[in-house]
Symmetry: C2
Subunit: 137 residues, 2 copies
DNA sequence: CATAGTTTTAGACTACTTCTAATTTTTAAT
DNA sequence: ATTAAAAATTAGAAGTAGTCTAAAACTATG
């Protein structure tokens, strides 16, 4: 169990356990946007006896403690995103792959004109096709 | 079976049936963003013997034929939205209610700067609190 | 090392959606 | 009208994703 990750969890107010560290090791480091079951599949490779419930519990705990964000796609799949800072999303309509877009890449104006709505956060969701000079799709 | 709705379906390439017209009558007219089961509940009032599978099939067909849009909330619920023209969404974090924001209410800039991504569509998703001089939340 | 609190576990359960395959309805051709 | 083919509908089974439960296993501390 790597001490750095354990400390990271402790700093977030989470008691580290072997299972939680195993989940954190994958999900906080990946740039994918995995579903809970994909996390379970990955983590089981290094920790074969971990249960599904624990993975779900752990992911929900991480979201509550703000180590992760949850993002629900238009097809209903719930994915997790280790990037907690503000950003937008690009969804490739062919592959389903989700890309993070830097916050500064887009600008939204006229938000102040939304009378009757108190804005807490927002993001732009862009759909289309990623051209494949990023090899990971 | 109202001829206008039947024609609307035919124009979209959908063979009208009594069931489809009953679903269309409600879901294409409402400003709510109902779930599939909410549509089923409503439609059964005028068409008590309609089956769940037909409602689901019909809604999916309408989405495919672009009479409806599907929108998945962050809590995982799938809702349908009869407003096919472009618009943004405001989600009230307390009530879960979704409001359509007019397309012109917000402006997104710098989309052209997304190198490597071919943009087909986009929308802004805003979260916060709706102040209640709209009485319907 | 006892105990209280926390975490994990397997599997049951729930909610939502799709699938299946049999039946009914519609369409189109005679 | 009759028929055959195609399309739509149906009830219920099956699949999926996620939560819950209650027992067992841990961990931290005195």
């Amino acid at each position: 169990m790597r001490p750095l990750i354990a400390d990271h969890l402790r700093n977030a107010g989470i008691q580290p356990s072997a299972q939680r560290v195993a989940v954190a090791e994958y999900v906080l480091a990946t740039e994918d946007h995995p579903t809970a079951d994909q996390v379970w599949a990955k983590v089981r490779k290094s920790f074969p006896m971990i249960s599904r419930a624990t993975v779900y519990n752990t992911l929900n705990l991480f979201v509550k403690k703000r180590l992760l964000r949850q993002f629900v796609l238009n097809d209903g799949k719930t994915v997790f995103d280790a990037r907690v800072s503000r950003h937008h999303h690009f969804i490739d309509e062919e592959t389903g792959r989700i890309y993070d877009l830097p916050w500064e890449a887009l600008a939204v104006s006229k938000l102040e004109s939304l009378n009757g709505f108190e804005v807490r956060e927002y993001q732009v969701v862009v759909r289309g096709r990623a051209k494949n000079y990023s090899r990971r799709g």
